[in-house]
């Protein structure tokens, strides 16, 4: 492994912050090089993660079996009611379907499904070959919608037609078809939609509670613990509050254009950003000053209990170093701040899908010597982790075993988080998880730390 260097053509996607060095822009928003061991996924993956938490719709994957099999209940987006999203539905296209087309099979599958499950709506995901064999999904969906009386929405998520980000957009496009079809009667003037919050481990519930405590009505969470009826009336909200920059900014922009709903970008990770996301919303409702008062009170109460409880972790973790490699860059900003608040510095920061502005901001935020990467791979990650002496890696499923093989702690900040990391309580959970992993006695047995026989 030592002999494996940085992929040629990738140098521009890696940056090390040094004083006096030329501040060239990091190259990003590009497709991965052929032949790289990238940690990225495809368009379909992007659409699937965005729409997945809508729990009272069926999600039918139109294609060969794999795309449905690999995305079957792997994301812990919890629902307070129906759980249709946790099942796996596929048209399981066979060779004959590829030759003669899959429209009939799609039609019959939809009819069977809707009869069986009586969903509020259906999302139909196109996969790679559907884009090639030329199935007219749009027409099938229209026909089934007519016959069954529920919205049947095509999601144009052919895997090869771009990156995961294009998948987010395709999902948002499907959501736009629903928004505006419900009644906005009785929606308060002081109301918001929560965008880009997927209720992993119940996080949307925590966030929703804060806003409701402030006296704000939450019309829809998109899409955590999502319900079709709520999505349909989302255009009645006064403000869109967008988390996770990559996935839902497009939807917010569309809603602004079509319905005149302004949006703000927030993050619910860490004390600083969590508090700011309450204040930033309160500011938008100056006609009701008690909202800001409530926000201030929530923050002060939460911080009063949270702050002392973090000190134990901070004491142990001060001086430890972290590496961050996550899907979206926006999350990285919060994580850097959150880690600093428990005494840790960041030596490597990167994302799969960050854009130019994201990386510019990242550069500003990072300490000297921090390595910044876009669309990285296991070789680079391992290399920088060892070189920079990181004690923790924050990432997703594919990064976890790499951290553990290297003998450092890990925190899943992706689908597989088991406890909520958002909100004030989430900051405590995050600190606890980082502390547990970084300070685990297991690392002393690792050969690299002198733990060999």
């Amino acid at each position: 492994m030592d002999s494996i260097g940085i992929l040629e053509g990738r140098q521009k996607q890696i940056f090390e912050k040094k004083s006096g060095a030329t501040q060239a822009d990091i190259a990003c928003d590009t497709s991965s090089l052929s032949g790289s061991v990238s940690q990225r996924a495809c368009v379909f993956c992007g659409s699937r993660v965005v729409l997945y938490p809508v729990a009272d719709a069926i999600h039918l994957v139109h294609g060969p079996i794999g795309c449905a099999a690999y995305t079957w209940d792997i994301r812990g987006a919890v629902s307070s009611g129906p759980e249709l999203h946790r099942l796996s539905f596929s048209t399981d296209l066979q060779e004959m379907d590829v030759i003669y087309g899959g429209e009939k099979k799609l039609y019959k599958s939809l009819i069977e499904l809707i009869e069986q499950y009586k969903p509020k709506a259906a999302f139909i995901y196109s996969t790679c070959i559907v884009g090639l064999i030329g199935d007219d999904i749009e027409a099938v969906c229209k026909k089934v919608a007519r016959e069954t009386g529920i919205p049947v929405l095509p999601v144009h998520s052919e895997g090869f037609k771009g990156t995961k980000k294009d998948g987010y957009k395709a999902a948002c496009h499907a959501l736009m078809q629903l928004i505006g079809t419900g009644s906005t009667q009785d929606i308060s003037k002081q109301s918001i939609n929560i965008l880009g919050e997927f209720n992993l481990a119940g996080e949307a519930w925590i966030i929703r509670q804060y806003y409701e405590k402030m006296g704000i009505e939450v019309v829809a969470t998109l899409t955590g613990d999502g319900r079709i009826d709520a999505v349909r009336r989302a255009h009645g909200a006064t403000l869109n509050v967008v988390q996770c920059s990559g996935s839902m900014t497009w939807l917010a922009k569309e809603m602004e254009e079509k319905y005149g709903i302004p949006y703000i970008r927030v993050s619910y990770f860490g004390i600083e950003d969590m508090s700011k996301s309450l204040y930033d919303v309160a500011v938008k409702f100056p006609e009701r000053p008690e909202i800001m008062d409530a926000a201030k009170q929530i923050v002060s109460e939460e911080v009063k209990t949270l702050y002392p409880s973090l000190q134990k972790f901070k004491k142990a973790l001060t001086g430890k170093k972290a590496a961050i490699y996550v899907g979206g860059a926006f999350k990285t900003f919060s994580l850097i701040k959150a880690l600093r608040s428990i005494g840790m510095s960041v030596v490597l920061a990167g994302s799969q899908t960050g854009n130019k502005d994201d990386y510019a901001r990242l550069k500003e935020m990072c300490d000297e010597g921090t390595v910044i990467v876009d669309d990285s791979n296991p070789v680079e990650l391992s290399k920088f982790i060892l070189e920079k002496g990181a004690d923790l890696l924050i990432g997703g499923v594919k990064e976890r075993p790499i951290a553990f093989k290297l003998g450092i702690g890990f925190c899943d900040h992706n689908h597989e988080r088991k406890i909520p990391l958002a909100g004030f309580v989430g900051m405590y959970n995050f600190a606890l998880e980082v502390y547990q992993s970084v300070m685990s006695p297991v690392w002393q047995f690792a050969p690299r730390k002198g733990g060999s026989l």
Partner: protein
């Protein structure tokens, strides 16, 4: 009640698969290729395929899984993926420096008509494969067969593209591993060594996907069948293919290209399948079975005798892959249990034939189905109509087990929520012992949980 919508009434569905008992070919090809030392699997398709396969294998093994992708874009899908693949091959050899690249196709590259044989030949002709390095391929369209088919296709590709016949026979036997865990492959090697038979086992994922914590990220872990071993397989005395669907096609290819005769056996899961494996290997290697193995067998039979009263007549539902389900079913019958429902998403008539042979006399009431329409929704419906005592299958069985309140044993692929499969084998007599222990624990824990106080027994 996650599966609260599952209806009791079984209706023939036309187009729809609900909760599949299979996945697609490429992941099988990727898994097989990881069993070759110094090999980097390469997925010729969109980026998502590779990412999903790596994630699934990582969840199953809790190990880093390395594989590259052609990263198809819209252009590639219009103009063909040759340029992408050629560029990928160059990149991979120059940067990741594997000994071998094993390319598999996807539904996308198959549908646009990329011919891997032609493209890999062109790569070699153009000098993109450095001296001493290798480039192999397997065609694995996702719309045919299942992950098991993909595994079989890659193993066949490995056999036919590496084996050479020097004309001088070597005193060794090929064992072609059907889809099994690294722990199983390790056990096959141990048994062969105890028997005193020199074998070439391929693929071999032990020491690849069960690697020790080393403080390093080994891009190419130390395990895997070596190129030298693979090349020598053409000179072996004979081949034993473990599994008629996942391993036999490779044995046929070896016979064709190097005239190595073969015998197809079941994966040695359970008593009788292990008996057949030990007999076949001792015959092929011309050795007698040592006492150590006879004693292993004796211990398994002893436990089966000791606990027979707890096993008798227990109704079992199972799902998974055909080459594992066949010997598992046979073992359950040997344990005097009743495998009543069996489902595999992998198509093929061999499964039906074998199951008929096994079940017709001993449990004619058994329902089994494979291929189209054989999914977990169907299995759940069967279980709702006629309840079972035990469910055996991969992690996705946990929903059914919870909803029906049935004891559940994890077996097969993928197992996403427990460990053990990487380290403790299911094959051989010791594997049989482990399975009996698991079955008994599941059944007897349930019996204890549900027993009335006066019937709650200390000695069982």
């Amino acid at each position: 009640m996650l599966l609260r919508h599952t209806s009791k009434e079984v209706k023939e569905r036309v187009g729809l698969t609900i909760n599949p008992a299979k996945t697609c070919q490429p992941i099988g090809a990727m898994y097989a290729a990881l069993g070759i030392h110094g090999c980097l699997p390469h997925s010729h398709g969109s980026q998502g395929c590779c990412s999903y396969h790596r994630s699934t294998l990582t969840r199953h093994y809790k190990e880093p899984v390395m594989a590259a992708t052609s990263s198809f874009t819209e252009g590639a899908s219009v103009f063909g993926g040759q340029a992408n693949l050629l560029a990928a091959i160059e990149t991979i050899f120059s940067v990741y420096d594997p000994d071998i690249i094993a390319v598999h196709s996807t539904c996308l590259s198959e549908t646009i008509g990329d011919d891997l044989q032609q493209i890999t030949r062109k790569a070699k002709d153009d000098g993109k494969v450095p001296e001493g390095k290798h480039l192999i391929f397997a065609s694995t369209p996702s719309f045919i067969g299942s992950h098991v088919t993909g595994y079989a296709n890659m193993v066949t590709g490995i056999a036919s593209q590496f084996a050479v016949s020097s004309g001088i026979k070597k005193n060794q036997i090929n064992i072609i591993a059907g889809w099994m865990e690294p722990s199983d492959m390790r056990e096959i090697k141990r048994l062969s060594s105890v028997l005193g038979v020199k074998i070439v086992l391929f693929p071999d994922t032990s020491d690849v996907l069960d690697a020790p914590q080393s403080g390093k990220h080994e891009f190419y872990p130390k395990g895997g069948t070596t190129v030298a071993e693979l090349q020598s397989s053409g000179d072996s005395l004979s081949s034993l293919a473990l599994g008629c669907i996942s391993a036999e096609p490779a044995a046929i290819a070896l016979e064709k290209c190097c005239k190595v005769p073969f015998k197809t056996l079941d994966i040695p899961i359970g008593l009788t399948a292990t008996d057949r494996f030990i007999m076949a290997l001792s015959q092929a290697g011309g050795v007698t079975v040592p006492d150590e193995i006879t004693a292993d067998r004796g211990r398994l039979v002893d436990v089966m005798a000791d606990m027979e009263q707890y096993l008798y007549g227990k109704r079992v539902a199972l799902f998974g892959d055909p080459d594992q389900l066949v010997p598992l079913t046979e073992f359950l019958l040997d344990l005097n249990m009743k495998p009543v429902f069996i489902v595999s998403g992998t198509p093929g008539q061999r499964f039906e034939k074998r199951m008929n042979l096994l079940l017709n006399e001993r449990t004619p009431e058994t329902k089994f189905r494979n291929g189209i329409g054989a999914d977990m929704f169907l299995l759940h419906q069967w279980m709702k109509n006629e309840p079972v005592d035990l469910l055996i299958g991969n992690s996705y069985g946990k929903y059914m087990a919870r909803d029906e309140d049935v004891p559940f044993i994890r077996f097969g692929f993928p197992i996403l929520d427990r460990i053990g499969h990487s380290y403790f084998p299911n094959v051989g007599y010791s594997g049989g012992l482990r399975l009996v222990e698991k079955i008994l624990n599941a059944l007897m824990d349930r019996q204890d949980r549900d027993a009335l106080e006066e019937k709650f027994e200390l000695v069982m």
